[in-house]
Amino acid sequence: MSKQTQSLLTLLEAVGVTIYYSDKPAVQEISISVPEHHITAIIGPSGCGKSTLLRAFNRMNDFIPEARMEGQILYKGNQLYAPGVDPVDVRRRIGMVFQKPNPFPKSVFNNVAWGPSINRYEGNLNERVELSLRKAALWDEVKDRLNDSAMTLSGGQQQRLCIARALAMEPEVILMDEPCSALDPVSTARIEDLMFELKKTYTIVIVTHNMQQAARVSRFTAFMEGGMLVEFGATKQLFTRPVNKRTEDYVSGRFG
């Protein structure tokens, strides 16, 4: 079991995070740590606050005017919400893939190249685009149509393009907010394969309400319900020997 003993360096950490929308708490007192080079899943029924928690990790909640956060998010031990931290810089390092594929209505090439180009990337942009598309397992399908509009791709291709777009920034963490919920099973399988490949170099946090998906891809799983963290631990244990009764009910499909 050498894999079990490999180092579990915490890269990203939520410490006592509570997030209010207006005055209603959507996420309450949550503490979880995300280990480097692993996939961590957040599961739970709709409206349990899992996406809200995910967005806190790269300060995307800043765009929801009525959202307010207490507690801390630590990235490599640094507070992401400290006064001097520029949220733009945070998002540069912690990328995000959204629920619905949202490519820019531009060419395939420009979708991937835009991130590096606004961040004054000095190297060869063509190489960066090709590398990102290869990492996202999309290169072979789009290499002859780099100048076509991204809107002409299929849904699954669009989502992989969004992953390539995030990878082009060379982030350390990729947050995925139900990345397969708008995709068919074949595309879903491709993205899951891709995630296995990506975790070698990246740290991934995925929100999903597909329990099988969490069980398949993740090493650690957090189960949330009603804004609270019910259980957090190794995925294998959480799905086979859950400590909490509510976790057991949920993962065995008795509700949700």
Partner: protein
Amino acid sequence: MKTTNLTARQRKAYLFRLICAAISWMGIGLLAILIFHVTSKGISWLDWQFLTGFPSRFPERAGIKSALVGTIWFISMTACFSIPLGTAAAIYLEEYSRKGPLGYLIEVNIANLAGVPSIVYGLLGLVIFVRGMELGRSLLAGSLTMTLLILPIIIIAAREAIRAVPNSIRLAAFALGATRWQMLRFHVLPQALPGILTGVILALSRAIGETAPLIMIGALTYVAFVPEGPLDAFTVLPIQIFNWASRPQEDFHHIAATGIIVLLAVLFFMNIIAVSIRHHAEKKGKV
């Protein structure tokens, strides 16, 4: 049991389509009659002498040069003031300001301003620009007054266009570490540009035909020179047309019709330019 009564429903659908078609063709028909009437009345007076001559007491020597050049000056200056101001205001209101009671108040007020009679803007321009800022009866005063008049139209259209850009695009840009300006500059504004241009076309088309506020601020009705700078006195096509149409001599009524032809031609030319820019922007936005 008969649950479908398909024929009756189909007949209703057909009837509705018929009504819509009839109304559309009525509008087009009226416009065609107007254009035919004006053309048949004025086309024979349209010649080089008319385009290059100054107004005159004698109909056969009367020309439209000063009004035509005045209109070109006037509409160019109005565009220079109103497009940047209106677009900037729309961007601020949609993308930067916080949505709240104050924003709502501003929104309602802008919508109201779009409905204020143009003569009121003329009075405002008279007080502020002509007298207050002592710009006199100049092109500058006129175009600033017209800018006030059409700003609400541009702001409303531009806000709608900006709002129509899906929010997922904004989030995608932000998630790549874009600043708000980069997000606007590369994604929202290019996608909103066709809609903004549509608003600009409508607003400038209105400005080119407005007469009342310009009479109010004292644009002249008889100008025998071409304006050479923003502080010169001026006249515009609709004022010249109004002036000719209100004269008793029959010939001047024909000249008024000729003036309308010129005005329509300018308007048509202006819109062609705007539509081609919009077409170009639509194509470019997708690559």
